[in-house]
């Protein structure tokens, strides 16, 4: 059919369809004029139209109601009747409808409140649902709950509810107007809690707790709370989902500020009583501070998706923090509570903070179980008794901290995981202490941040298509998974039960306040869980198994049991790889954790591969600037850092940091670990100023965000103290180090490697201050711990103890320790790692001190070879070792071996020193002396001239300068350039003579040496008189020299 034909058919069809049935046949006949085809088509359509019935009849189910503009239905006016209720006065307007004061006429005459819903909802459904709840609602009888009497439909088809009429004002307004103080507010709030508790016991969840639903009315002058609107939320299906948030005009109404995270999830997760607890928490927050946890305007400004994410994921500020931030508003807030701002802040800090935040936990299993529990804690606070909310403060905060790390992503196995967290709370602390680790001398850090940003990529269409395909596949899978979910929940409950049994049996005796617990017990719990898993208890829900295994793996890693953790993490990774598309956050989670464990086990090859793949995947899947990318960059950097590839790591970390700063400008969500890592890298690259600044910044962030005794703070302290020590800022470093040790001792089980590390670092500090006895006992303790646990840190603690012994002059004791340290270094580091060079150097030193030159030399050479291969030529470590080697040879008189070393040394130092630096002069001088000993006059001359030039400019009056001149003369002498030789030698001698007083005893030999050269000169030129004269002076000068064999200053 041509287009023209089609148009014709359509037009005809429409025309004729409008006619009454009887007239159609004739009209059709007329119009078609014998065109059979046309007629067939039109007839077919007419028939279809007649038979279609309800097919696609009302595609917009609420279309009717939406089309009706507001207020056009005039049946709701004061004085009109609805059922047996007479409307008197409109008393409110909400997002859902209007509230009227009405009069009930029969069977009893009384005032009621009538709420008419008008969001265009399917009335039958609403009423039906309300009926279901009505039984429960009828059973509620509580002085603080407004009763719901009845429900029905208006003539216009809108549902309405009839409730007890409460003459009062919303609780917040009441409290602010009357300037109710905090204590009294809490007492009012207690009543609300009791009301909610009553309801929950009757099986009714309010679902819509907010200040406007809590009215305060006065009975004989006493304020009484009444909670209203029970049951309505469910009935109208307006459970604070986004469905409430639009009207026919598509404007946003209502406020999401009271929405619990699971309500913001929109995933169909069942809302339970704990959602009410959350809302109570918001209410309490507002009562105490005058604002909601999340600023309403802020939320609305973000757009819906972002708003939901905020509610689900962002941690709000504590009430006390909020008050202190509020500034002017805070003053007013405080006034409304009859205190000044500071006092309010301190009132809130502590108990009330904890109580509120416990209600606001994202993970609902961590909230108060019951409203009574909440009320009880508030009462305890009012009575000055310790509250339960904040008591295990470390693990509580820890949990918060974990939340910002990807652990929360694993909350899919919410029951099992949460229970594991609850059971092994302290293990998370240890986990956290260990969480940031790499196998490097400085520390191991392995924290990565996961954020659930469900943004589709906005890049090329190709990426779009791929993701869209993945989503389709996921959608298909999800339908199947949905069925599996119920079974999954049951299985998880079974695991949780099993673990709970273990918990009861094994930890029953433990004091819940004692966070140290028993490591072995926790491991047994883990082992039991693993046994269950291996037996296939979650075989049908692989994702659940993956998540539980990941949790187990992390817990074990946190306890330092890397070998036990590894297979679980491998399995978790394998499962998530099989189930999810590339780049899925679950996979990334597992990759990060497994890489962390591999690093801890020193399996560098595989860890390297994993981190490289993770980064490539992240770059491919995520757009630039995505936090996932930052996390992968960080992991890769840590890997590189473990291999001492600092130059490669630096740009990656800077990139990660830039992303973090952009995404989380408040710097709290993981920036600190990136800062820490970058600082370490820069330290290795010898950029110490910036490294120190970064450590400080990271520490500041941690102190701000965490409680005082948190292992992560300890780590930050360690790092900063270590750097300060390195920069010789000892007095500043020591208190930091001690604080770190204190934290570790408090938080970790007694034999934990981090304690050892901390001990030996502190020992080093004390050693540098000469406090050997203190240092010794700490260092010995560190070695004992590390030996017992077999941890890689043993190399450092042995080194510490060994060098300490050396400083004390106990070389024979030091030697075996340093041998052992070297062996440990070799065992735990990849070949060529700088730490091995350090261990070699130390060993060489102790051998050298015992004059075991033959043993020392190969050790020293190996150290240098290693360093040459791994650091730049001017690296202090290499320079120091070369110096040592040169000196080593010179002391043995092996000048010919010393010279090439000195030459190399000179080359290195030239690169890093200024051209006219006196330090360079020192090197030059030392080099020249060796050259002269080898009679390489020509080269010596050049070197000496350079040295002299520097010294004449920098310190013309120092005896050393004249000494240099004398040696220059010697060099000329050797080349038989007698004239100049004489000039230099004489000048040099005179200069030295004039400054004899300033020559230190060690340098006393200089003058006789200078004279010797003059003697040689005159002998060589045949000037017997002068030669004899000078020989005489030589005798005299030699007599003045204190003792032979001292090595002189230069």
């Amino acid at each position: 059919m041509t287009d023209a034909d089609k148009l014709l058919v359509r037009r005809l069809f429409l025309q004729i369809a409008e006619l009454p049935a009887a007239a159609r046949a004739a009209a059709l006949e007329r119009a078609c004029q014998g065109n059979a085809r046309l007629r067939t088509e039109v007839e077919a359509l007419l028939r279809a139209d007649a038979e279609a019935g309800q097919f696609m009849a009302s595609p917009t189910a609420d279309g009717v109601a939406r089309r009706a503009p507001e207020g056009s239905l005039s049946s709701e006016q004061p004085g009109s009747s609805i059922g047996r209720y007479k409307l008197l006065e409109q008393i409110g307007e909400g997002g859902m409808g209007t509230i009227w004061m009405a009069e009930q006429r029969e069977p009893v005459k009384r005032r009621v409140a009538l709420k008419i819903i008008k969001l265009g909802m399917d009335t039958k459904q609403v009423i039906a649902r309300f009926e279901a709840e009505r039984q429960a609602l009828a059973m509620m009888d509580h002085p603080h709950i407004a009763k719901v009497f009845d429900a029905g439909t208006t003539d216009a088809g809108r549902p309405y509810f009839v409730m007890e009429y409460i003459k009062g004002i919303p609780i917040l307004e009441y409290c602010d107007q009357q300037k109710v103080d905090t204590k009294s507010r809490l007492q009012l709030f207690l009543a609300v809690c009791h009301a909610i508790q009553h309801a929950h016991q009757k099986g009714v969840i309010h679902r819509d707790i907010k200040p406007s639903n809590v009215l305060v009315t006065l009975h004989d002058g006493v304020p009484v709370c009444k909670v209203i609107d029970f049951g309505i939320a469910k009935a109208t299906n307006s459970e604070l989902t986004t469905k409430t948030l639009f009207t026919e005009h598509r404007q946003m109404v209502g406020t999401p500020a009271y929405m619990s995270p699971e309500q913001a999830e929109m995933s169909g997760l069942d809302i339970d009583t704990r959602s009410d607890i959350y809302s109570l928490g918001v209410l309490l927050y507002e009562l105490l501070t005058g604002t909601t946890p999340f600023d309403i305007k802020d939320l609305l400004a973000k757009g819906l998706g972002e708003m939901m994410r905020t509610i689900r994921e962002v941690e709000p500020h504590k009430p006390s923090t909020r008050i202190s931030e509020l500034g002017e508003i805070g003053t007013r807030t405080a006034m409304e509570r009859r205190v000044d701002q500071n006092k309010l802040c301190s009132l809130l800090r502590g108990d009330l903070d904890w109580i509120v935040m416990k209600c606001l936990e994202k993970d609902r299993s961590r909230r108060y179980e019951t409203a009574n529990g909440l009320a009880a804690d508030i009462r305890r606070h009012l009575d000055d008794e310790p509250v339960t909310a904040g008591a295990p403060s470390a693990s509580y905060r820890l949990h918060k901290f974990i939340r910002r790390n990807k652990v929360q992503v694993l909350a899919g196995a919410a029951v099992a995981a949460a229970l594991l967290i609850g059971v092994v709370g302290f293990a998370w602390q240890a986990k956290l202490a260990n969480e940031q680790r790499i196998v490097a001398e400085k520390a191991r850090e392995s924290e990565s941040e996961q954020r659930k940003l469900a943004d589709a990529s906005r890049n090329e269409a190709e990426t779009q298509a791929r993701i869209a395909k993945e989503r389709e596949a996921e959608a298909r899978k999800s339908a199947a998974e949905a069925i599996a979910q119920e079974a999954e929940a049951r299985k998880q409950a079974a695991i949780a039960e099993a673990i709970a049994r273990f918990q009861t049996e094994m930890l029953a005796a433990a004091d819940p306040q004692n966070l140290l617990g028993d490591t072995v017990t926790v491991v047994q719990v883990m082992a039991a869980a693993v046994t269950l898993l291996d037996a296939g208890s979650l075989a049908e829900q692989p994702l659940a198994e993956a998540r539980v295994r990941a949790t187990i793996g992390m817990t074990l890693e946190g306890l330092g049991r890397y070998d036990d953790a590894e297979p679980n993490l491998r399995k978790a990774l394998a499962i998530t790889r099989a189930v999810h598309p590339a780049g899925h956050e679950d996979i990334t989670t597992c990759v990060h954790m497994l890489a962390g464990v591999l690093l801890a086990q020193n399996n560098h090859v595989e860890a390297e591969r994993l981190s490289r793949e993770a980064l490539e995947t992240a770059r491919a899947v995520y757009p630039a600037g995505h936090p996932e990318l930052a996390s992968a960059l960080n992991l890769r950097s840590m890997q590189l850092l473990a291999l001492d590839k600092n130059a490669e790591a630096e740009p990656l970390l800077r990139e990660a940091l830039a992303i973090e700063r952009q995404v989380a400008p408040d710097g709290r969500q993981g920036t600190d670990s990136y800062l820490d890592n970058l600082a370490k890298v820069l330290w290795n690259l010898n950029q110490l100023d910036e490294a120190e600044a970064l450590f400080r910044e990271a520490l500041a962030i941690r102190r701000e965000a965490l409680p005082a005794a948190h292992p992560t703070i300890a780590m930050g302290l360690n790092n900063l103290a270590a750097l300060l020590h390195h920069r010789s800022k000892l007095t500043e470093a020591e208190p930091l180090q001690r604080e770190a040790l204190g934290i570790y001792r408090a938080c970790l089980p007694a034999g934990h490697p981090d304690i050892a590390k901390c001990l030996q670092i502190l020992a080093g500090l004390l050693q540098s201050q000469g406090r050997y006895a203190e240092a010794d006992s700490l260092a010995r303790e560190a070695v004992d711990i590390d030996r017992a646990a077999g941890h890689p840190g043993i190399a450092q603690s042995l080194t510490r103890l060994g060098t300490l012994r050396m400083t004390q002059g106990k070389f024979a004791e030091a030697e075996p320790l340093l041998h052992e340290a070297l062996a440990a270094s070799r065992a735990f580091h990849p070949a060529g790692h700088r730490d091995i060079a350090t261990a070699l150097g130390n060993l060489a030193m102790v051998l050298d001190r015992q004059d075991k030159y033959e043993e020392a030399e190969p050790v020293l050479r190996e150290s240098i070879d290693l360093l040459r291969a791994s650091v730049p030529a001017d690296h202090p470590h290499l320079v120091a070792t070369l110096r040592f080697l040169a000196h080593f040879y010179e002391r043995q008189g092996k000048v010919d071996q010393a010279v090439p070393v000195r030459r190399e040394l000179l080359g290195s130092t030239r690169a890093s020193l200024e051209k006219d630096s006196p330090e360079l002069a020192v090197h030059l001088m030392a080099f020249s002396e060796s050259l002269i000993t080898l009679q390489q006059w020509g080269e010596a001359e050049g070197v000496l001239r350079e040295c002299l030039a520097i010294r004449e400019k920098a310190e013309p009056d120092a005896w050393t300068t004249w000494n240099t001149r004398s040696w220059l003369g010697a060099a000329m002498l050797g080349q038989k350039k007698f004239a100049e030789a004489e000039a230099q030698l004489l000048a040099g001698y005179r200069g030295l003579q004039e400054r004899e007083a300033s020559i230190p005893p060690a340098g006393a030999i200089r003058i006789p040496r200078a004279i010797e050269h003059l003697v040689q000169l005159y002998e060589a030129t045949g000037n017997a008189t002068e030669a004899a004269a000078w020989r005489g002076r030589l005798e005299a000068a030699r007599a003045k020299v204190p003792a032979p064999g001292t090595t002189g200053g230069r």
Partner: protein, 177 residues
């Protein structure tokens, strides 16, 4: 969104995954419940998705039109996926005449859902304008006026087009006389 408004096809394509994701999540929650009285409303879902992606700001109609076109397509796919996932298992065989809206069709048997989709495909080939109308009204839940605005028609023309489109579609589907 304004890129989409300028008629840029690739921009409209860009919208689809975003829209799809939002709708999928919301629809899924509802579809999963599969209660006979479930309240899956295409309109509600699409409006939610709109709010999620666009926020409370008002947009010019042309932009919204693109959005709704993408939303309609997304809803259609969701329905198909839902049908395929259900397979032979679920959904009662209902009379098509008893399916006034998206929700009711969602409760129908898989074969029926797919049959409707195929018929829509044929209609798209023969009469793209009519098919577009069906998509906007049925899958995206737009009212006649809203669909009119989206397609650039007068409300009266749109109303007539809708009558025709519905008949044309049903004609393809109905059992042979």
């Amino acid at each position: 969104m304004s890129a989409a408004a300028s008629g840029d096809k690739s921009a409209a394509n860009e919208l689809l995954p975003l829209v799809y994701e939002q709708l999928r999540r919301a629809a899924e929650a509802d579809l999963r419940r599969e209660r006979p009285d479930h309240t899956l409303s295409a309109t509600a879902l699409v409006h939610e998705a709109y709010l999620r992606l666009v926020g409370p700001r008002e947009l010019a109609w042309t932009n919204r039109a693109h959005f709704y076109a993408a939303a309609a397509e997304a809803m259609r796919r969701i329905l198909i996926d839902h049908a395929r996932a259900r397979g032979r298992r679920g959904g009662q065989h209902v009379r098509l005449q008893d399916c006034p809206d998206f929700a009711s069709l969602a409760g129908a048997g898989a074969e029926q859902i797919l049959a409707v989709d195929e018929a829509l495909g044929r209609l798209t080939e023969q009469d793209p304008e009519a098919a577009a109308m069906v998509r906007l009204r049925f899958y995206a839940g737009l009212s006649v006026d809203e669909a009119a605005a989206a397609m650039g028609l007068s409300p009266r023309t749109a109303a007539r087009l809708w009558t025709y489109a519905r008949a044309a579609l049903y004609r393809d589907l109905r059992p042979d006389p």
